[in-house]
């Protein structure tokens, strides 16, 4: 049976391992960030170069691009380990699977979500978003992208070994992402309209806590189902 004291070492081990693996395939990380930049670049090409219009649409576009980037990186979470049997070995470990899975989620966020949070101000400037709006955008992304990684992990685990590839994963995960999108983009909209973003941040924070408590167990269950 799993020991409570084993939770942190398991988390740290899984996080460290996934980070090391990610660093070894730096190219893959680079292309994910390039994807984000590309998506963000595409939208203004469809619009008249009106700064006010871009300012209105910008935060939403940056949020949707963050969702898509998170989605794109999800298969990497489990598929490689699943294919070569490492995931089965991990699941057999006496360490709590939920803790190990949490480490993987954290690594996913560090390699996908965190770059988005860091790069967002750059693109927000390109969208003529004001400084206060950018701050709220970044704060929202900082709260929200971890939730995306955690929710996405459930989808990634459920679709292991299933046919349908990325679009199945997108179909499963994007509806779950909707509240994060609404509150994250809504926070910027609120500030833009002169209102307080704190209700949005409270809800995002609550969502983050809920996700942190629930998703590791749901994901661990999904991993075990996939390994049966």
């Amino acid at each position: 049976m799993s020991d409570a004291r084993a939770v942190l070492p398991a988390f740290v081990w899984a996080l460290g391992r996934d980070l090391r693996l990610a660093v070894r395939s730096r190219g893959e990380l680079g292309t994910e960030i390039a994807f984000y930049a590309l998506v963000v670049t595409l939208f203004p090409l469809t619009l008249p170069p009106d700064p006010a219009l871009l300012d209105t649409l910008g935060p939403g576009v940056l949020w949707v691009a963050a969702l898509l980037s998170s989605l794109l990186a999800l298969p990497r979470l489990f598929a490689g380990d699943f294919a070569d049997g490492t995931l089965a070995a991990i699941a057999l470990s006496p360490r709590p699977l939920a803790a190990l899975v949490s480490g993987k989620m954290a690594a996913h966020w560090l390699t996908t979500g965190l770059p988005v949070v860091v790069l967002a101000p750059l693109f927000a400037l390109a969208y003529h978003v004001s400084a206060t709006d950018i701050a709220v955008l970044v704060a929202g992304l900082a709260l929200g992208t971890p939730i995306l990684s955690m929710l996405g992990a459930i989808g990634a685990a459920l679709t292991l070994g299933a046919r349908g590839g990325g679009s199945l994963l997108a179909l499963l995960v994007l509806p779950l992402y909707v509240p994060v999108l609404i509150f994250g983009a809504g926070a910027v909209g609120a500030v833009h309209a002169g209102l307080s973003p704190s209700p949005h941040f409270s809800l995002l924070g609550a969502g983050l806590l809920l996700a942190a408590l629930g998703t590791p167990f749901a994901t661990a269950a999904a991993v075990r189902i996939a390994l049966d």
């Binding site: 509806p175 909707v178 999904a222």
Partner: protein, 244 residues
């Protein structure tokens, strides 16, 4: 006398039960439907503000209600399937998904056809319709996941987890969409306005709700028979059974 709750928990014993029950539920649905449609289309008066187009609510409200209810019931069967590891619970969840998706689609379609004559647009991004659209995607997800996994028992468990994750998220999604919508209420159309209800309208709505509910139960019990026969193909009990 204590009830044996697990008497019908095996596919073998449930098959004849569902074969018996399904036609009854469909017959009740047809009867209630006839009454409800008569009440709604003939008896209920023309509305002062919305004319006769409001009569769409007699199918819009029941289908929207069933879309939500079926998802919750599907999640409940999924919980049973994971908790007791019973095949039949998972089969019931499998049988519910297509009907739930159909109800969600109908809720969206009838809502659009109600919106156009009364508020001028087929689609306005209001809270309930947008949440129903996302609910439809959630149904598609469960159905897609089932067909994407080859092993039926593995598909059972994966879809069960997905349904449970979904059912937790449905209130959150609804709340978030409602939140988003009310913030922008000033510039958007409110689609929450049902006409103030005369007694006959209320009666028609209630009867139609029960009619659609009974239909859903009947068609799900019908579908689960097909699922049982499909999945128990090769089992001894099924081979010995005379074709029903």
């Amino acid at each position: 006398m204590s009830i044996n709750w697990f008497k019908y928990a095996s596919p073998a014993s449930f098959l004849p039960l569902s074969a018996t029950l399904a036609p009854w539920f469909l017959a009740v649905a047809a009867l209630l439907g006839a009454i409800g449609l008569y009440l709604g289309l003939v008896v209920a008066p023309t509305d002062a503000t919305q004319g006769d187009a409001y009569r769409i609510i007699f199918i819009h409200v029941p289908t929207a209600w069933m879309a939500m209810l079926i998802y919750v019931v599907m999640a409940a069967w999924s919980a049973l399937a994971l908790g007791y590891n019973t095949r039949l619970s998972a089969m019931m969840a499998q049988a519910l998904a297509p009907t739930g998706a159909a109800m969600a689609f109908l809720a969206l379609w009838t809502g659009a056809f109600w919106g156009r004559p009364t508020w001028g647009t087929y689609w306005a991004w209001d809270a309930r319709m947008t949440s129903t659209l996302i609910l439809l995607f959630l149904y598609f997800g469960v159905i897609a996941l089932r067909s994407a996994i080859d092993d039926p028992r593995r598909a059972d468990r994966a879809c069960a987890v997905l349904s449970l994750v979904g059912v937790v998220n449905v209130p959150i999604i609804y709340f978030s969409v409602k939140w988003w919508n009310t913030l922008h209420q000033g510039s958007s159309i409110s689609l929450t306005g049902a006409p103030s209800m005369a007694m006959s309208m209320l009666a028609a709505m209630l009867v139609m709700t029960f009619a659609v509910w009974s239909y859903c139960i009947g068609v799900v019990l019908w579908r689960v028979q097909a699922i049982i026969v499909e999945r128990e193909n090769g089992a001894a009990w099924l081979a010995q059974r005379a074709p029903a």
